[in-house]
């Protein structure tokens, strides 16, 4: 019996009970569709989050005030920690691997110009900010390289802040009031877009010292160090610690390399994606149980046929293959249908819910398909063995 004939025979068995075949294949189909859909969303979220984080560059170390101890308590909370200051940032500029330093503070404030006003996110940043974080300037320039202790009162607009306050007009040279102080507009950033409901462009950038005044703050929120690409992260961190400990007398700050954050985050996201895939896997398992049941029924109601095939000269191996192929074909058909349903729904979701990050992970798709083939094989093994073990004389006596 050749392969084509075997396939044809199996196909005829499956089409003989169309409804039953469709129902049990749909058990697998739903499972595969669930796996694909859930992992598509999982993968989409993962890619989305990682790209949001890496778009600002990956060779950045962030220093925040206060030391988070391993027991979760924060020294900063006790109040004995010293603030991070502009002077700290200046000191770090001369550290071995430092490419750019940036002292950062952030808050909300009202901005006003020509009778219009708006509440936006105000960033106090240093002149190196745009270079350190790969931020593109649209018009004009970013904050100039002034003395960080006493910078001029310039402001750079986020693209949304620009359009909301100035419409299409060129804002360069205009006076903008941020909080209570007056700033001169010297540039507009290129649009960064929107992350879900969080608008990255509804912002303005002013020099850090000025922002501290606007927010009436003493200390920085964080210092960012962009180190030379290829520099060893551990050495970068050690250098930073040495400089700051010398200034503060002890380690009352926290140094977080972005790479470490990224790898932690991608581990978390991977676990999440796997968990979600496993969830879909449960429905696949339910489908598999249905298939085992169906194959047992198929063997039970075809006992006489098995006896006949034996009488006609089919070997036990042949009978085993026929039933194994039947369950495998069934689950593969279900798997393919599930693949199309899952990918179709994922695609529809992407189309309908534009903000939902959906991304079909093809490795999971292939894995799911291979899994459905395996399920078919596994579901068929015991029934097929049972079929092959039947005594042909007894089998022929049942009708």
């Amino acid at each position: 019996m050749n392969t084509i004939d075997t396939f044809h025979f199996v196909f005829r068995s499956l089409t003989a009970h169309r409804l039953r075949t469709i129902l049990s294949a749909s058990g697998i189909a739903i499972g595969i569709a669930a796996v694909i859909l859930l992992t598509s969303i999982g993968e989409g979220v993962q890619r989305f989050v990682l790209s949001e984080f890496t778009q600002f560059g990956t060779n950045i170390v962030t220093i925040t005030p206060g030391k988070v101890s391993t027991h979760g308590g924060s020294l900063g909370a006790i109040g004995s920690a010293r603030l991070l200051t502009i002077e700290d940032a200046i000191a770090l500029k001369h550290s071995r691997y430092t490419q750019y330093t940036n002292a950062s503070v952030m808050g909300n404030a009202e901005i006003r110009t020509q009778g219009r006003s708006r509440r936006v996110t105000v960033y106090g940043q240093g002149p190196d900010f745009s270079r350190a974080f790969n931020m593109q300037v649209g018009i004009g320039q970013f904050l100039p390289d002034d003395d960080p202790r006493n910078p001029r009162a310039y402001v750079v607009l986020g693209s949304k802040a620009h359009t909301e306050l100035f419409g299409g007009d060129n804002p360069l040279g205009a006076i903008l009031q941020v909080g209570g102080s007056r700033f001169r507009v010297i540039g507009v950033m290129a649009s960064k877009g929107q992350i879900l409901d969080f608008d990255l462009d509804d912002t303005v950038f002013i020099p850090t010292m000025r922002a501290l005044e606007v927010f009436n703050r003493e200390g920085l929120m964080e210092i960012n160090i962009a180190y030379q690409p290829g520099a060893p992260v551990e050495a970068v961190v050690d250098d930073i610690k040495r400089v700051l400990v010398a200034r503060h007398g002890r380690e009352d700050f926290t140094v977080i390399p972005q790479q470490q954050m990224l790898s932690t985050m991608s581990t978390v996201l991977n676990v999440l994606k796997f968990a979600v895939a496993a969830l879909g896997g449960i429905s696949l398992l339910v489908g598999a149980v249905g298939m085992v049941t169906l194959m047992h029924i198929a063997v039970a109601e075809r006992v006489a046929e098995i006896g006949l095939l034996t009488a006609l000269g089919a070997t036990r191996t042949r009978i085993r293959i026929l039933f194994l192929m039947e369950s495998t074909a069934l689950s593969t058909l279900g798997g393919l249908a599930g693949l199309m349903i899952g990918a179709g729904v994922a695609w529809l979701l992407k189309l309908l819910v534009s903000n939902l990050p959906v991304n079909i992970p093809w490795d999971y798709v292939l894995g799911a398909l291979a899994l459905s083939v395996l399920i078919g094989l596994a579901a068929g093994v015991i029934p097929a063995m049972r079929a092959a073990k039947l005594n042909p004389v007894d089998a022929l006596r049942t009708e």
Partner: protein, 227 residues
């Protein structure tokens, strides 16, 4: 040539031991037409199943065409069933989801005959058994006589040397049964060994040799002159 020597087949039913065949020896030459008769439970089917290699004796020897087949492996026995033996059953045993033509084709598929040859041979068989206009019908759409004709066409499509028919007319009325027997006898006339188990004395008397069994033994085995 079928050569059975001291064949014993024992079944256990609970603690009861049934000697379905009890030290049976019989020789059937190629091209013979043998009828096997006897009361129900006398071992006729068991004898046929052993001849057809569907069942194994507990003891004794079976040589088919001079070759000891009791010692063969399962696969070798399957090959002999494919190539040398054709079964006809009382209950037809057609595959319900397959058409008449596909049922007839089944042994050719199992035997690995290429599709083109299969087509020719199935067409010829449909013609020979007057089933041309029933080729695409399923068994459920056929009469009893037509079903048994499909079954006989299937049993002969591989041109076996032995046809084993276990009460082939048992489910048919007398007239149709006679027609089916005539078809089987045509096969015998073309040289095939024909062994038929039957309850019907009249049909049994059409064979050239009659074996009568009782309690797992051969009671009489004599030549017969069909009038």
């Amino acid at each position: 040539m079928i050569d059975l020597t001291a064949i014993t087949r024992i079944f256990h039913m609970g603690d009861q031991v049934v000697r379905a065949l009890d030290d049976v020896s019989v020789r059937i030459s190629s091209g013979e037409y043998v009828s096997i008769m006897g009361p129900s439970g006398s071992g006729k089917s068991t004898l046929l199943n052993i001849i057809g290699l569907l069942d194994k004796p507990n003891s004794g020897n079976y040589a088919l065409d001079g070759k000891n087949v009791t010692a063969l492996s399962e696969n070798e026995q399957a090959q002999i069933r494919r190539e040398k033996i054709g079964f006809v059953f009382q209950t037809f045993h057609l595959v319900p989801r397959l058409t008449a033509a596909e049922n007839i084709e089944l042994p050719l598929i199992l035997g690995g005959i290429p599709p083109k040859d299969r087509c020719l041979r199935v067409d010829a068989a449909l013609l020979a058994f007057e089933l041309q206009d029933r080729a695409q019908h399923r068994p459920a759409e056929l009469s009893g006589g037509q079903r048994q004709r499909v079954a006989i066409a299937r049993a002969t499509i591989m041109q076996p040397t032995v046809i084993l028919a276990d009460e082939p007319t048992g489910n048919l009325d007398h007239h149709i049964g006679g027609e089916v027997m005539s078809l089987l006898e045509k096969l015998y006339e073309s040289g095939t060994t024909l062994i038929v188990v039957t309850h019907d004395r009249e049909l049994g008397a059409r064979a050239h040799r009659q074996i009568i069994m009782r309690d797992g033994k051969i009671l009489t085995d004599q030549a017969n002159d069909p009038a």
